[in-house]
Point group: C2
């Protein structure tokens, strides 16, 4: 079975670990979000790709969900001593090595997809990880700029990590997306997929950014295979992260049903909501999307695997 | 008193620490060798500039003489796990931060001299440290290439660090030197100097490379102020490092007298040899260079300070 998964960071990575356990023989291609990518200290940092790679490759900081296990922070401390920031982005020494290798390869002319493949040669994530695009796309968030009485756009990481999404977001802009092309292999993987899954990643800044790359949304809609998603909202709040803040920016309620309707029946065939949101099932189904209520908290790999099994079961059901 | 010092790495840095102790009120400008510079992992590494900066700024690994105190090696270990080399160049995590800042600033368009000044703003070395040039100069060493029956040129660091200077060097090539220009401030500092000193740095690959930048040798010769050097050879062997190997490559004997004659009376006014080489004094003087035999082992800062005092005393003597 060929499965394509559109993944953001932590939620996507943990779901994928469950999917690998649930479908050990499946051929899994992950299309990773690169809208979170940021240049820091002259280095190219790809938080979502790395979170997937580290999580599936056994290098992740388990509790934190991002970054490396056994991490140290000597480089960051020294950069601070030089007065070089930002200091709000937690790059560890082991993580720095990944960004140094990536930046060196990109400087040598390799596209990000080739670099990602090279990095994965070490991590052996057990999936094929492809960035959504080799082009530069950066998610910017429009926030108030009270100092000049107007608004300004900041990099997603500044909004998310530095400001903790604590200020109102007025718009989410995937800058560069319109001009970007899917990375080599993305459209082919979608065309050859038996099932396409949207893990409980952020529907706006993770899955939404991937869908903003021209050609990807259309390829999924036209693939003619079941497309099943899992709600990142449980009981009217994000399972983790601050998805509600960016949903508000695009006028979508922070409910499991509203997210399904945001994706829409043109894209989604099936949708899983948590058991606490069982009351939302009729709403989603009335929008033309098959819906089931199952436990959606990825408390451990077994729980994530069970969610993956439910998603594959729903895919089978909608294709029947 | 304005003192200009042409410095390589460890020997130059330790001498400078002594000079600062011996002449605390002097205005010291250090012209640093950049021929050892190397690009590693996409980062610009300036070993000699950093050794001077760390030594005078209190960040040096004392016993080793290069690199940072309290150093860790997580980044290097990770790069190795990615299969990215070279593994023979010992970059520590703290040191990496310096190269990251430098590379970022150079990428932003700053010349190396401005970058060095910015790095020194943190380290406060108590001297003005200027790279010999903002242009790219790389010392290459011609060695045998038995695999193809010929010879090849390797980067100085490969010869020095990876091969430990254990193979014959047939030539030392300061690649790019002919086209290079002295960095801003270099010629001005020489023109305004009261004394110019050559510390016991390597006469070929450190001081010699600086002198290979067009204009610097001439400026020193024309400065009309005492130029005094200290022998890096004591008892017919280098005090540290492998200067004898590169001296052989250019046909200079590894003796205190031969090094003085290599610099020549057109450049040098005074030369200090170690007391064990007192017999060489007449040879040096017959070449037109005032010579004194004094202890030249920099066992500690006091010993280095005493050497600096002797150098300044000889400078006074030759100008009388």
């Amino acid at each position: 079975m060929r499965i394509v998964v559109l993944a953001g960071g932590i939620g996507g990575a943990r779901f994928l670990r469950g999917l690998k356990a649930a479908a050990p023989d499946a051929d899994i291609t992950v299309i990773g979000n690169t809208g979170d990518d940021i240049h820091l200290f002259g280095l190219k940092v790809c938080p979502d790709l790395d979170t997937v790679m580290y999580t599936l490759g056994g290098g992740i900081h388990e509790e934190q969900g991002w970054g490396r296990s056994g991490e140290t922070f000597a480089v960051k401390e020294e950069l601070g001593a030089y007065g070089i920031g930002p200091d709000w982005f937690g790059l560890g020494d082991r993580d720095f090595a990944t960004h140094i290798v990536r930046t060196q390869m990109i400087g040598a002319g390799y596209p990000l997809s080739a670099v990602t493949e090279a990095l994965c040669a070490r991590w052996q994530p057990g999936v094929r990880l492809i960035p959504m695009t080799d082009d530069r796309v950066e998610t910017h968030v429009v926030i108030d700029a009270p100092e000049d009485g107007g608004r300004k756009a900041v990099h997603f990481q500044e909004y998310w990590v530095r400001l903790h999404a604590s200020v109102p977001a007025h718009a989410i802009l995937p800058v560069g997306a319109e001009q970007s092309k899917p990375a080599p292999g993305v459209l082919e993987a979608i065309a050859e997929a038996d099932v396409i899954l949207f893990p409980p990643s952020n529907p706006i800044v993770s899955v939404g950014t991937i869908l903003a790359v021209p050609g990807i949304r259309e390829a999924i809609a036209d693939a003619g295979v079941p497309v099943v998603g899992l709600s990142p909202i449980v009981g009217d709040a994000p399972v983790r992260g601050m998805a509600d803040k960016v949903l508000a920016a695009v006028g979508v309620d922070a409910t499991a049903a509203a997210v399904a309707q945001h994706y829409g029946s043109g894209l989604l065939d099936g949708w899983l909501v948590d058991t606490v949101d069982a009351a939302a099932v009729p709403d989603v189904e009335s929008a033309g999307i098959r819906c089931r209520a199952v436990p959606l908290l990825m408390t451990d790999v077994d729980a994530a695997a069970q969610m993956a099994r439910e998603a594959l079961r729903l895919a089978e059901e909608v294709s029947a």
